[in-house]
């Protein structure tokens, strides 16, 4: 086992693998920056390119692509208010206001720094305790995952920002829409109206593209280029944070990284869940909570550190047990099998050299991303210099391509546009969109794990309280909900005191 660690390191510094890592980073950043092109899709698209490469080279390329796509997602989120990946949706909340305040460079620099911290921490965790941590995952069955999802639902409270009723409405609508599709335990199609395309449920990536991109594109087209302050056209400020800023944000980065690693570890929850979790926690720990949503650095650092830390966490169950921790690692797992490697504990023994090469590649890709990002990001700002009325239609085109490419489905294009219209309506009536997204992501998890738990417990609801892990998680969820209650009041008053209309907050939370 020890020797594999060093064989892996020796493999990874092979020039071909270094080239693969840098190429993967470049492509990943580009693909991730396009709205609607997720890290999962980036991996899926590039997978065929790696068939002919050696396993370690191909996997190193896929891993660096995944990591860079996570950062690429935040470029679009910060500059254009269109999260390139679902995981970057939380970055929109404070990243875009920062950019509007003329701190686009700082926001991107923070994102890059936080990604580096999150990525390096999670790779180190991955390298040292992967075989050990894989065991933890076994403790998470349906009962425990249900409790995690319930805890996740309490995030809706924080995302509602003074409009508790509208936030809960949005979250409930998300949960309701999540029930569309075949019931896992009975096979009965629900709310599908006989349409086969709805049998697998609403693909939340499709919904997300519509909800976030279409209203933004419409806004860009309608508004045109009225005032410079409304759009982000240049990186006037320096990207790298000062040492002092760095030190101030370090506790936040570390906490968010830890959240990312642990969230990634739980199968079925990926960067999207982790970034909202981290954002929520950063807000809870912050002294001035009302700064969140208006462009505070902490609101960028938290989701960015978390969504890169997820990579390492998600790879742990993938590698140790062959259970993908997120949809992207599921595709990565497909990559392993294409290269003739069966997942599971044998990855650490029979294929230890390839596995450890992959793990080192993850670490190296995070470092590569930092440097590539410093150069590429400047170039990327050129995108924002294009007039709004050009960018808007381009976003629509990319959204259509993105929605289609996920399942090669024309139906999904229509679905994306429908969600776009819903997003527009939400914007018009000032209903927050993020709770809807949380509902859509967590709905299917809640639904299936609840039914599985009740089957396991033979219909007895006490199954959730007699299990120590789930009982603890549910107690935390209860506390989280209670704690948020007075917060609504405080925030509500704070919102009302603002000048009429307030400033448009990102993510549809105005």
């Amino acid at each position: 086992m020890e020797s594999f660690l060093w064989i892996g390191l020796a493999n990874v510094v092979d020039p071909i693998n270094i080239v693969a890592i840098f190429a993967g980073t470049m492509i990943g950043m580009f693909v991730g920056a396009m709205p609607g092109l997720s890290a999962t899709m980036a991996i899926a698209l590039l997978l065929p390119l790696t068939y002919s490469l050696r396993p370690e080279t191909g996997l190193a390329m896929l891993a660096s692509l995944y990591i860079a796509a996570m950062y690429g997602g935040s470029i679009a989120a910060i500059l254009l208010r269109t999260p390139g990946t679902p995981a970057a949706a939380a970055t929109v909340m404070d990243g875009h206001p920062m950019a509007r305040k003329g701190q686009a460079g700082k926001a991107l620099g923070l994102s890059l720094t936080a990604s580096l911290i999150g990525g390096v921490i999670s790779s180190i965790v991955l390298l040292t305790v992967a075989p050990l941590l894989g065991r933890v995952v076994l403790n998470f069955g349906p009962v425990e995952i249900f409790a995690v999802a319930v805890l996740g639902i309490t995030i809706i409270g924080t995302l509602s920002q003074g409009t508790a009723v509208l936030g809960l409405f949005s979250g409930a609508l998300g949960l309701l829409l999540a029930t569309v599709g075949m019931d896992l335990t009975t096979g009965t199609p629900r709310f599908t109206f006989g349409i086969l395309d709805l049998f697998s449920g609403i693909n939340f990536t499709v919904a997300l593209i519509g909800l976030f991109s279409i209203p933004q594109a419409v806004r860009l087209i309608v508004e045109g280029n009225p005032k410079d302050e409304d759009r982000v056209s240049s990186l006037r400020d320096r990207m790298l944070p000062t040492l002092r800023e760095f030190v101030n944000l370090l506790p936040n980065s570390l906490r968010s990284s830890a959240i990312g690693v642990f969230t990634g570890l739980i199968p079925g929850t990926g960067g999207d869940t982790a970034s909202w979790f981290a954002y929520n926690e950063a807000k809870r720990f912050a002294r001035n909570k009302s700064e969140f949503g208006t462009g505070t650095p902490a609101g960028v650092v938290a989701p960015e550190a978390a969504n890169n830390a997820v990579v390492g966490g998600a790879l742990i169950p993938t590698i140790a047990l062959g259970i993908p921790g997120s949809s992207s690692t599921a595709v990565l797992l497909g990559g392993l099998m294409v290269h003739g490697i069966l997942p599971g504990p044998s990855l650490m023994t029979d294929h230890g050299d390839v596995t450890y090469t992959l793990l080192w590649a993850v670490l190296l890709a995070n470092v590569a991303l930092f440097f590539v990002g410093l150069f590429f990001t400047r170039a990327c700002v050129a995108v924002t210099k294009i007039p709004n009325r050009v960018v808007g239609p381009v976003i629509v085109v990319l959204s259509v391509i993105g929605a289609y490419a996920i399942n090669n489905s024309m139906f999904d294009i229509g679905l994306m546009i429908a969600f776009g219209l819903l997003g527009l309506a939400f914007d018009t009536f000032r209903i927050p969109t993020p709770p809807l997204v949380i509902g859509l992501i967590l709905g299917p998890i809640l639904d299936t794990t609840l039914q599985q738990s009740l089957l396991i417990g033979r219909g007895d609801w006490m199954v959730f309280l007699s299990n120590p892990i789930s009982a603890t998680l549910l107690a935390i969820a209860l506390l989280s909900a209670l704690q948020a209650t007075p917060l609504f009041g405080v925030l509500g008053r704070a919102m009302k005191r603002r000048p009429a209309g307030g400033q448009p907050a990102p993510g549809g939370t105005e």
Partner: protein
């Protein structure tokens, strides 16, 4: 650097997907579209990546994969049955039992196997019953006795309603006269993991996906649902040996639309036969833990027909019970 890398990767990729005709044959199409009802990177794709490079060489045609995921394959198979020209230019990977259970269980899925031309089954992953390493069940009989003593109490995971393991559980209940507490998961991985972590008492899953864990001693295999004992698991009895008439698994092969040109069908079957006889192919399949189970033409059609009958009968008996859960 970047462009040359891309060019290199691109040309390499083209090399694997677009094969130049090696032998001039008169297959009616020069490009054959292969519709897959599942996402790229899944089990169907693994079969496509394994078989099609060899098949392309045998037939002298290009194979182009088209991924149409959704409704457990039903979107792709509906298109195959209803909207595809039977000119030999389009075929689909057909996964059983989902190919038949889809429309048996859901009236809104309207295709059926009479609208298809089965070409050949290529691989089968046999079913297997596994429990956690520290499970009190040491033999299949322990498991059966516990299920018999406490009806609807022993929890058994499967890969999802409509999948092979779900119907294996139903068939086993009938064969053994017991009632299990069936817990559906989303795929085999979550099912055997739950068994490994002791979250459920047992999992009915497949050999290919759980073998590494069995080998490592993390899972105990109680019985395989195969005709004969498996060479890799010589100590694990078959359910048949133990007196339960149960042979089940998850199979993948190829089918075309109804009215497939007979000459093209024969060429396709012959080429597939040559592929599975090729030692290089056998080696590649073994490396990917794929168990070759070649059943072609009328035999494949008969296999599908038999499954359709069996599953229709089972589903008719239990559907009201399932719906009322």
């Amino acid at each position: 650097m970047k462009t040359s890398m891309m060019a290199l990767a691109l040309s390499a990729a083209l090399g694997t997907t677009a094969f130049t005709p090696a032998v001039a044959q008169d297959y009616p199409a020069s490009d054959v579209t292969v519709m897959q009802g599942f996402k790229a990177g899944g089990g169907s794709d693994a079969l496509a990546q394994l078989v099609q490079p060899f098949l392309a060489e045998e037939l002298g045609v290009n194979f182009v994969n088209e991924y149409i995921p959704g409704a457990t394959g039903a979107i792709a198979w509906t298109r195959l049955a209803k909207q595809t020209k039977a000119d030999g230019g389009t075929i689909s990977i057909t996964n059983t039992p989902m190919l038949t259970t889809n429309y048996i269980m859901n009236p809104s899925i309207t295709y059926n196997i009479s609208e298809l031309t089965p070409i050949a089954n290529i691989v089968t992953d046999p079913g297997i019953a596994v429990v956690a390493a520290d499970s009190p069940f040491n033999t299949f009989e322990d498991f059966v006795n516990a299920a018999r003593a406490n009806p609807a109490t022993v929890t058994v995971g499967n890969s999802g309603v409509g999948g092979d393991d779900y119907f294996t559980s139903l068939q086993f209940e009938r064969a053994a006269g017991v009632q299990l507490q069936k817990v559906p998961f989303q795929g085999d991985g979550p099912s055997w993991t739950a068994a490994m972590g002791g979250k459920i008492d047992a999992s009915f899953t497949n050999v290919g996906v759980s073998f590494p864990q069995i080998e490592q001693g993390n899972l105990k295999a109680l019985a395989v649902f195969a005709e004969e004992r498996l060479p890799d698991l010589p100590d694990v009895p078959t359910a048949r040996e133990l007196g339960y008439d149960l042979v089940a698994g998850s199979s993948r092969g190829y089918s075309g639309p109804a009215g497939f040109p007979p000459e093209a069908l024969q060429q396709m079957i012959d080429a597939m036969q040559r592929v599975v006889d090729n030692p290089e192919f056998q080696k590649a399949a073994a490396e990917r833990a794929m168990n070759i189970d070649f059943i072609s033409g009328d035999d494949y059609a008969a296999m599908l027909k038999k499954q359709e009958e069996q599953y229709t009968q089972i589903w008719d008996e239990i559907k009201d019970e399932v719906r009322n859960q």
